[in-house]
């Protein structure tokens, strides 16, 4: 093999190595399994070094109903500083709900006491730019739920939601709580990820 050829191969290797490589990493910041019933779960002292946060959970409410709604607040703000719009899909059609100047964001749906015991339908929430102090914060959420014993087509539901916090403060804590509850029951799982 001649020397010129080997030199060209080496140059090509060097050029390929020096190209910037796309890097996306998802870091598990915190995970929690509920040891008992709780009225709310708060992630506090959230690190500020990620581009986005992803919050994923499988929770059940103690409400005497088939389903309950998850509420989200940032930085323990209980004021009327939240807006949200949601679309709910069922086999019979869709419905849209909007709320402005609410005291929390409605972030999806979960099973409750009158739903099949093994149902723990998931919710995922993404919060882009959560640490930036120059813009109000938005979340986008996707969740689903199964009513009762899933004995009818209408017992399955998908819930999409966009929510807004009227604050440009960096998000340092996130609280999740049931709308009716009053508790989330034991064995619920929550995971908070950072997207770098």
């Amino acid at each position: 093999m001649n020397i010129d050829f080997m030199r060209k191969v080496n140059e090509l290797d060097y050029r390929l190595d020096s190209q910037p490589k796309p890097e996306i990493s998802l870091v598990l910041i915190s995970e929690s399994v509920l040891a008992g019933a709780v009225a709310s779960v708060t992630f506090s002292s959230i690190p500020q070094n990620f581009k986005s946060l992803i919050l994923q959970f499988q929770l059940r409410s103690s409400a005497t109903a088939e389903v309950d709604i998850n509420l989200v607040r940032f930085n323990a703000d209980t004021g009327a500083n939240y807006d949200h719009i949601s679309v709910q899909f069922q086999s019979v059609g869709t419905s849209i709900a909007v709320s402005r100047a609410a005291t929390s964001i409605r972030a999806g749906i979960c099973e409750a006491a009158n739903s099949r015991a093994s149902n723990w339908s998931p919710t995922a929430i993404i919060i882009p730019g959560y640490s930036k102090a120059d813009r109000e914060k938005w979340l986008q959420q996707f969740s689903s739920a199964a009513f009762g014993n899933v004995s009818a087509d209408t017992d399955l539901l998908i819930w999409l939601n966009a929510g807004r916090w009227r604050s440009a403060n960096a998000i340092t804590s996130i609280t999740v709580l049931p709308n009716t509850g009053p508790n989330y029951v034991a064995d619920g799982i929550l995971q908070l990820y950072g997207l770098a």
Partner: protein, 82 residues
């Protein structure tokens, strides 16, 4: 009633009793949620339940209009005339 706080920097989980103020807020939230759920259930009346309700509350004029649509508010649903 307790709340769970997960302090990420301190790597600490803490179950703390709600304060009285938080308990009161929580109770208010729960009651509002129950009322909302009941209102939602109201919207989900079955056809039979709706007819039962109409038998009690509808005016004669409404009952007459329903009869035109093939709904007998005495409890029977008439077979729609083809």
């Amino acid at each position: 009633m307790q709340k769970l706080t997960i302090d990420i920097q301190a790597n600490k989980k803490e179950y703390v009793d709600l304060t009285q103020k938080e308990e009161a807020e929580r109770l208010g939230q729960t009651n509002a949620g129950l009322q909302e759920a009941a209102a939602q259930k109201e919207k989900e009346l079955t056809r039979e339940q709706a007819i039962e309700r109409l038998k009690v509350s509808a005016s004669q004029e409404v009952k007459d209009l329903l009869a035109v649509l093939g709904i007998d508010t005495t409890g029977e649903i008439k077979k729609a005339a083809d």
